[in-house]
Symmetry: C2
Subunit: 154 residues, 2 copies
């Protein structure tokens, strides 16, 4: 059981062009939907990533958030998933090594086809502030609500 | 796995005096807390009842509501429970046979000590309307927000 409780510090960028070597990277098809998704950042999210299922509780706004995640069985997921109707999105996630970190690139599908966003998570706010993005990353959209998954799913 | 998706039709009463024969009835100690609890009736509730754990999603207000419930493992429950801090309540629930139905009597504890509420669930709205409460039931508080568990937990 993958149970994590932590405070999330991350930065988010638009992707100017896809980096080289993607075909050799880890990749997952993700479908996610929201049981709850509020303007103040409170959310309860269901996610299917590859063959894994999870429920995530998040609270707070900005680059430091509280997050609690539990794995679900397929049966638990299937029982709750219908309640997310109208609040869903689908994306392909690539995980790309970058120095000592991993960058997640999300390629959105369906009505958000064409949108590609990269996220990098940090242990400390100082490291997040000092991060120098490679040239294939474009505008810094950290905290920009237009690129929150909550809004993209609504 | 107990997975239920249904529309709930119920009536709620204050309890004037406890009915006879309670000691022979089914009884459970319940602790519940809310990950989400909104005025419009949207809620995500965690519950420990005896040795069982569950997560319930509810939407809607009044005597007809949508409800989806899944059993949780103790580990899943423990990972999410801290997020309900400040939005919890404890009660003893008795299940009492009454004709062809079962009445649930909730005896609240801690800061709600002294409050006792009974709930009966029906298959159809017509049956709910026609229900004649026995004399040990008092005021009909169906839909009265003062006696919602959401409010009692806040």
């Amino acid at each position: 059981m993958n149970v994590s409780t932590h405070r999330e510090i991350e930065r988010k960028f638009l992707v100017r062009k896809m980096p080289d070597g993607l075909t050799s990277c880890s990749r997952a098809e993700i479908s996610q939907g929201y049981l709850v998704s509020l303007d103040d950042g409170l959310q309860v999210r269901l996610r299917k990533s590859g063959e894994g299922f999870s429920l995530t509780y998040k609270r707070g706004i900005g680059n430091v958030r509280e997050e609690r995640e539990v794995e679900l069985t397929a049966e638990q997921f299937d029982a709750l998933w219908p309640a997310t109707e109208g609040k869903r999105l689908a994306k392909t996630r690539y995980e790309i090594p970058l120095g000592e970190h991993t960058v997640e690139i999300d390629v959105y599908h369906e009505r958000h086809e064409g949108l590609i966003v990269a996220e990098e998570e940090f242990d400390e706010e100082e490291a997040a502030k000092n991060f120098r993005p490679p040239d294939w990353l474009g505008d810094d959209v950290t905290g920009d609500p237009r690129y929150s998954n909550q809004l993209l799913a609504s």
